[in-house]
């Protein structure tokens, strides 16, 4: 029986997984867009995005548009690779569970 893959603990958190999945579909997204799509609170969302940024999975850009602060998030290549590997690991684990 082949070795089962480890699930990446950074992505394994449900909100972080949801955020990476959302960011995988767009070039960049505002904080408010991510908050509305996930239904998360500002504090929790900020904390989870900071963890993803720390891991190098997302990039943050802060700027001012018409004197209003705007925070944009985009997925990095490392983040995309990590999400792809996570999905593959999930499928492998599910396959193993079905075979068992």
């Amino acid at each position: 029986m082949p070795d089962l893959p480890e699930l990446n603990p950074v992505i394994h958190g449900k909100l972080r997984l949801a955020l990476l999945s959302l960011l995988a579909t767009v070039e960049e997204a505002e904080f408010t867009w991510l908050r509305n799509k996930t239904g998360s609170t500002d504090g929790n969302l900020g904390a989870q995005l900071a963890k993803l940024e720390e891991a190098g999975y997302v990039q943050v850009e802060k700027k001012f548009v018409q004197r209003k602060p705007l925070t944009l998030y985009r997925m990095t290549d490392t983040g995309r690779t990590a999400l792809t590997e996570y999905v593959q690991a999930l499928k492998q684990l599910l396959g193993a569970a079905i075979d068992a």
Binding site: A24, V26, F31, V87, L90, A97
Partner: protein, 200 residues
């Protein structure tokens, strides 16, 4: 970690990824302008056929409106990911357009489309059906009201005089195309502003 993770949990995570990807692709759809465009096209065709007495008024205006819609939709769709619901709603309107064209064009060519009551009743009923289908799929009450107005115009056209049937048609176009289209555009603009933005 795997030992603590159940099969159901793994499935839930896969489902979460799928739903978030679908959610990310669901942008604010902008279709209000098409209602206004087609409302104006109907008015142009009515005015041209009433004052110009031309048999070409309806086919030429409708084909022009269809070409303009295709060009504008293609230009907007190129940078907008497609969703299943969006495709389903689009299909309803495309099927309606084809059905109306295939029905009214031969009737017009063969000279059998002489009764204004029949034309207004059938066209209004078909537009009511498309609006109702879209309203039920989107769970959008305002569009269902539009469908009811079209159906009311279809019934009114059966019983009233030719002039009354024409007035009912003009009123239905005004409320269901122009007013509803502008309302849709305002609603889409507000939703976009409230939701923040993501750029595809």
């Amino acid at each position: 970690m795997q030992e603590e993770t159940t099969t159901q949990d793994l499935k839930d995570r896969l489902a979460l990824i799928e739903s978030m990807i679908a959610e990310g692709r669901r942008k604010t759809e902008s279709w209000g302008w098409t209602f206004v465009l087609w409302g104006l096209a109907y008015y142009a065709a009515i005015a041209w056929s009433a004052w110009g007495h031309s048999a070409w008024a309806w086919p030429v205006t409708m084909i022009a409106a269809a070409i303009l819609t295709i060009i504008l939709v293609s230009a907007r769709a190129s940078h907008r990911p497609e969703t299943t619901l969006g495709r389903a709603i689009g299909s309803i309107w495309i099927a309606l357009g084809i059905s109306m064209f295939l029905l009214f064009m031969p009737l017009g060519i063969t000279g059998r489309l002489t009764d204004a009551h029949v034309f207004i009743s059938v066209a209004s009923a078909m537009l009511g059906m498309a609006n109702a289908t879209s309203a039920m799929a989107l769970r959008w009450k305002a569009q269902f009201v539009s469908a009811v107005v079209w159906w009311a115009a279809a019934i009114a056209a059966c019983f009233g005089t030719e002039e009354q049937a024409g007035i009912a048609f003009l009123i239905a176009i005004f409320f269901c195309q122009i007013v509803f289209g502008i309302y849709g555009m305002i609603r889409e603009g507000r939703a976009k502003a409230q939701r923040g933005a993501a750029h595809a």
